[in-house]
């Protein structure tokens, strides 16, 4: 799982300030972020297969989804897992390094989360060899949203940084113009 993320400095302030001078520039910048997030989201969704990764993974909804194991195991439903993968620009919680999110992917469906994370912490094979089987067939953990982030990160960093730099430059021009 990727640990790095692009940290934009002065994003909110730049956009807020630019809003007063050049709304089109703000729109343009937001469009870049939205586009990048959309691409990453669609990429992550494309990793969800129609059939379950393991043959024993049930495809009918569980009788009691809150119980782990057996009948309670969340079913593999491509549409639900895909629908559970969304992008968000909510700021969310402030982390220990005093940053907040400006763009992220979420994977919220139970089956999607299991598929994404199985084997990430616990490397030993579980009951019936679930973890080893899924690792053998689908590769290491980080199989959906994190995979997409890893794949698209460089491009996103480049495009968003450039867009922010453009926005900052535009803001600076406006500020300079105000100085006369």
């Amino acid at each position: 799982m990727s640990q790095d993320a692009i940290v934009l400095t002065g994003l909110k302030e730049t956009i807020d300030a630019l809003q007063a001078f050049d709304k089109d520039a703000v729109k343009q910048f937001r469009k870049v972020i939205n586009t990048e997030l959309k691409i990453a989201k669609e990429d992550a969704q494309s990793f969800v297969k129609a059939k379950p990764p393991l043959s024993g993974w049930n495809v009918t909804p569980a009788r009691n989804p809150r119980t782990r194991g057996g009948a309670g195991w969340p079913s593999w439903d491509q549409s639900i897992i895909k629908a559970g993968i969304t992008s968000t620009k909510a700021e969310g919680k402030v982390r220990g390094d005093y940053t907040t999110s400006a763009g992220a992917l979420k994977n919220i469906s139970a089956a999607g989360v299991i598929y994404e994370l199985a084997g990430r912490k616990n490397k030993t094979s579980g009951k019936n060899g679930f973890i080893s089987n899924i690792e053998n067939r689908e590769g290491d953990a980080s199989r959906l949203v994190w995979k997409s982030v890893d794949k698209n990160k460089d491009r996103i960093i480049k495009n968003v940084s450039e867009a922010l730099d453009v926005a900052k430059a535009k803001l600076q021009r406006h500020l300079d113009a105000r100085k006369g």
Partner: protein, 976 residues
């Protein structure tokens, strides 16, 4: 973030929230240090303070909890009354339900009541709301979602919007969502999650405890609130006035109080120092550990023990005293016994004396005998005397020895008896003396215990406090001296000193502020410099995060610093900056308005150049101004009315008729519109309007604002909101005000009720404008009606080659007054085209402005003349071009005719031969018709059959022509 969801952050940012979080962390650290200090205090045994603090906190929390509960109850009660007209009994039932639910589910009232309110508003029925809430609680517990979010989703679902519910519970059946079946949704949720909340609550005793504690706090709070209310009343009504009164009375004694306070503090500190010294000594002698607190605690413990021992020693001493007394008493007995012994001893002594006497007798007899034998004379006498003395001394010594023996005996007997009786107390006393001796050695000996760091720190603090005492002494003395000096100063000197002190304080504050700003700036710069590290260039990362930038470092710094500065400004809520930005924004708005008005002015002049306003022109203006047609028409009417700077009765009446309003409304509006036409309402204009209409300044400004908004004939929600906010009006009041003005507007938006919008709408605008235009045409419309119609449209000028254009006066609003003017314009154009500028100038001087423009300023008149001259030039140029074209056309026709006459017979024969070879290939008959083909280039070709390509068409025409030649007919129009 949903519970259990995977959250892959791609883009992060530093925000104000981050710095606030940092501050929060610092505060937390501070709090933790405070907590440590509190713990240390508790270690010193000051638990009372903590207990008091807890009691205060509990009281405060309780009152807060009770207040919160009251707020929630008010919220609940109000909603119930408003939504369901609930009675007091029904409200009480709901409150009971909330209380029970709290206990059953471990949810607090501050979660349950907002949720219930939301559902109540959505359903309008408290029973349904309860049902929905029970499902919501179970669903929230089952999914791990927030109750508020689930309640909101269910409330939306109750109103037919299932999107939120689907997002919240993705496993919900698609058919339920599709059919918007709330019942099925609730059943499904209940089936999946029913009873989850209660089961979870039953397994969470701490949750129950939390709920119970909260209830307990609320109860305490309810009990405390009356007392606190009373206390507040007492403080505000009795204590504070008394305190103020006391301060007033004792103002003069404050110096003394200060001095006394300093003295007291000093004494107290000294006393503390002494105590500490004692504690330190105890601490040193008790080898109980290294931690200062423990040592000190042990020292206190040791003191306690020592005191206890001292008590014991005192007790022992008392016991000893008692014992002594008892011994004395016992001594009496002993003495009695001793007396007996003495008596017996005396008896012995008597016996001894008797023996002695006998002995002496014998001795005397012996000596006498000896004398008789050995000494003769005085020697005998002397010897006898000496012997007698010795014997006497011996006898005394024997008596003394006898007394001593008696005393010794008494002592021994008494001591034996005392020891026998009090041996335990004596043993303890000896032990205590040993302990004291041991302590004494420890204090004065070489095996002292080294002070721990904490104890040393405490000692240092005491030393520092002593130093502080000294400085306080000095400060107090200085203060006294200053007071004394002030008392001796004149008022002028006092004022000067005060001014100097103020200046010094201000300077100091400025320096501090500047230093703080510099430090902050340096910190921001340092942080920015750190954040601008670019990966891949050997720069450090910030944690695991990689800041990136493609800008130059200097540019990046400038932008980031500006952004940070903006952030700081934002955090400081810099009112000045906001004010400046607002002013700038208003200036931009004003400039936009002026530009728009200028643009409209130019457009109107252009349209009125021909004195006609056609529908097409109005449509063009409508598109150009981005206004409805009705609004354009209204604006034109208003513009016409105020364009001369004077408002006539006719204009007022026209506008009133147009609007269907009263004459007063129209007059008032036009006057305001006239003044506002330049975009500014000056002070003098305001005064005039105040005088004219008996209005206050505020009323004038309000009316002007409304006129400015409706003058363009349209109204949208942003304008409504702007007016609402500026003048604190409701939407209905805004509508009423517009109605009062009488100017119809085209409303687009959602704020105003459609029925009300219709009341201020353009119902009769088109008809009104038509009436106005009719008036304009009929020439009875007053000053704006052109009584002498001016040059209408630019005339069509038929031109013969080489000849001069002929002027034809067209229809329209033109008339005899401008015929000469039009002719002059054409003459000007012709002369100019011919290069005769002198004639052109003379002709131009004959051109008159249009009737409407003639009533305007000189500039408008000049613009009208210029427009006419330009139009005439264009027409002349067009006529010249047309004449040239026709000339060339005629020449081409003549050349073509000549070419036909000299056609080669041989070529014709060959062509006929070729066609004969093609006989039969023409399947479709075609025809060419027309008049004189040479004279008029209009040819009608009828093609029979299907022609799909251009080549087919050419072939068909060619075949038709050749076929005509082949049959011997001449090539005539009627050939076929």
């Amino acid at each position: 973030m949903a519970q259990g969801a995977v959250y892959a952050r791609i883009i992060s940012q530093y925000t104000a929230k981050g710095s606030k979080e940092a501050q929060k962390d610092l505060k937390k650290l501070e709090y933790q240090m405070d907590g440590f200090a509190r713990k240390a205090k508790r270690a010193f045994g000051i638990a009372t303070a903590a207990a008091t603090a807890y009691a205060i906190k509990l009281s405060k929390d309780s009152v807060q909890a009770a207040q919160d509960d009251i707020k929630e109850q008010i919220l609940l009660t109000t909603t119930l009354k408003n939504v369901t007209n609930a009675t007091e009994i029904q409200i009480a039932a709901v409150q009971q339900y909330i209380d029970k639910t709290e206990l059953l589910t471990n949810l607090q009232g501050d979660e349950l009541i907002p949720s219930f309110n939301q559902l109540l508003v959505a359903t309008g029925d408290s029973t349904k709301a309860m049902l929905l809430q029970s499902v919501a609680i179970d669903t929230a517990a089952g999914t791990g979602k927030d109750l508020a979010a689930v309640s909101a989703a269910l409330a939306k679902a109750a109103n037919g919007n299932f999107t939120a519910l689907k997002k919240l519970v993705p496993s919900l059946d698609e058919n339920i969502i599709k059919n918007k079946d709330l019942g099925a949704a609730l059943t499904a949720l209940d089936k999946t999650y029913g009873g989850t909340a209660k089961r979870l609550a039953d397994k969470d005793p701490f949750g129950k405890l939390a709920v119970a504690t909260e209830k307990f706090k609320e109860k305490i709070g309810y009990a405390l609130i009356p007392a606190l209310t009373q206390l507040v009343t007492h403080l505000t009504e009795d204590v504070i006035p008394q305190l103020e009164y006391w301060l007033e009375l004792n103002r003069n004694g404050i110096d003394q109080a200060l001095e006394s306070a300093v003295g007291n503090i000093k004494e107290f500190t000294k006393a503390l120092g002494n105590i500490f010294d004692y504690l330190k000594a105890i601490n040193q002698v008790l080898p109980l550990g290294v931690a200062g607190y423990i040592q000190l605690g042990a020292a206190i413990y040791g003191i306690g023990k020592a005191i206890a021992f001292a008590g014991f020693a005192i007790k022992s001493y008392t016991t000893f005293q008692k014992a002594n007394f008892a011994a004395n008493m016992a001594n009496k007995e002993a003495v009695t016994g001793l007396a007996k012994l003495v008596r017996e001893s005396n008896d012995i002594t008597k016996q001894g004396n008797f023996v002695q006497r006998a002995f002496n007798k014998q001795l005397v007899a012996f000596l006498t005998l000896a004398k008789s034998y050995l000494i003769v004379g005085p020697k005998m006498a002397y010897t006898n005397a000496m012997m007698a003395g010795s014997l006497k001394g011996l006898s005394g010594a024997a008596l003394v020895a006898n007394a001593s023996l008696k005393a010794l005996r008494a002592t021994i007997v008494g001591a034996i008896k005392f020891v026998a009786k009090y041996w335990k107390a004596i043993a303890v006393l000896i032990a205590a003396l040993k302990v004291f001796d041991w302590i004494h050695k420890k204090i004065t000996g070489n095996d002292k215990v080294t002070l721990s760091a904490a104890a040393q720190a405490a000692e240092n603090r005491i030393a520092a406090t002593n130093k502080l005492n000294d400085s306080m002494d000095k400060a107090l003395n200085k203060y006294k001296e200053e007071q004394s000096a002030i008392a001796n100063m004149t008022q002028e000197e006092k004022d000067r000193a005060k001014a100097l002190a103020d200046m010094a304080a201000k300077q100091l504050a400025d320096e501090k502020r500047q230093a703080a700003a510099e430090a902050k700036r340096a910190s921001v710069l340092a942080r920015l410099a750190k954040l601008q590290q670019v990966p891949g260039k050997g720069k450090a990362k910030v944690g695991k995060l990689v800041p990136t930038s493609t800008l130059e470092a200097a540019e990046q710094e400038a932008i980031n610093f500006r952004a940070a500065e903006l952030l700081l400004l934002k955090q400081k809520d810099n009112a000045e900056e906001l004010k400046r930005l607002k002013a700038l924004q208003e200036r931009i708005e004003y400039q936009k308005l002026v530009n728009e008005l200028s643009m409209r002015y130019v457009d109107i002049l252009r349209v009125l150049g021909d004195q006609k306003i056609t529908d097409d022109e109005i449509k063009a203006l409508s598109i150009g101004w981005k206004l409805p047609i009705e609004a354009v028409k209204a604006y034109l009417i208003q513009f016409q009315a105020v364009s001369d700077g004077k408002i006539s009765n006719d204009e007022i009446e026209n506008l009133a008729k147009t609007w269907g309003s009263t004459k007063e409304q129209a007059e008032k509006y036009l006057q305001f519109f006239n003044y506002l036409n330049d975009g500014i309402l000056s002070d003098s204009e305001i005064k005039k309007l105040m005088t004219s209409w008996g209005m206050t300044e505020a009323q004038v400004r309000q009316y002007a604002d409304f006129v400015q908004v409706v003058s363009d004939g349209k109204l949208d929600d942003s304008e409504v909101v702007k007016l609402q906010q500026k003048w604190k009006l409701s939407i209905d009041e805004v509508v009423d005000y517009i109605k009062k003005i009488g100017s119809p507007v085209a409303y687009s938006g959602t704020l105003i009720d459609p029925a009300k919008a219709a009341e201020i709408g353009w119902l009769n605008a088109t008809a009104a404008l038509q009436r106005y235009l009719d008036l304009l045409k009929s020439g009875t419309g007053g000053t704006i009606t052109p009584t002498n119609p001016v040059v209408p449209v630019v005339p069509v000028v038929p031109v013969t080659p080489g000849g001069k254009p002929e002027v034809v006066t067209p229809d329209g609003l033109g008339g005899s007054r401008t015929d000469s003017s039009a002719a002059a314009a054409i003459a000007y154009a012709v002369a100019k085209a011919a290069g005769d500028m002198e004639t052109a100038a003379k002709a131009a001087a004959q051109v008159n402005p249009s009737t409407l423009a003639a009533g305007e300023s000189g500039a408008i008149g000049a613009a009208s003349i210029a427009a006419q001259l330009k139009a005439a030039e264009e027409k002349v140029a067009y006529a010249a071009t047309l004449a040239g074209f026709k000339e060339k056309e005629a020449a081409d026709a003549a050349a073509a005719s000549a070419a036909t006459i000299i056609s080669d017979a041989a070529q014709d024969a060959a062509e006929r031969a070729r066609f004969r070879a093609m006989t039969g290939t023409t399947t479709a008959a075609s025809s060419i018709s027309g008049g004189n083909l040479m004279a008029a280039p209009v040819v009608n070709i009828t093609v029979q059959g299907s022609v799909t390509t251009e080549q087919d068409l050419v072939n068909t025409v060619r075949n038709g022509l050749l076929g005509t030649q082949y049959n011997g007919n001449s090539l005539l129009l009627q050939a076929i």
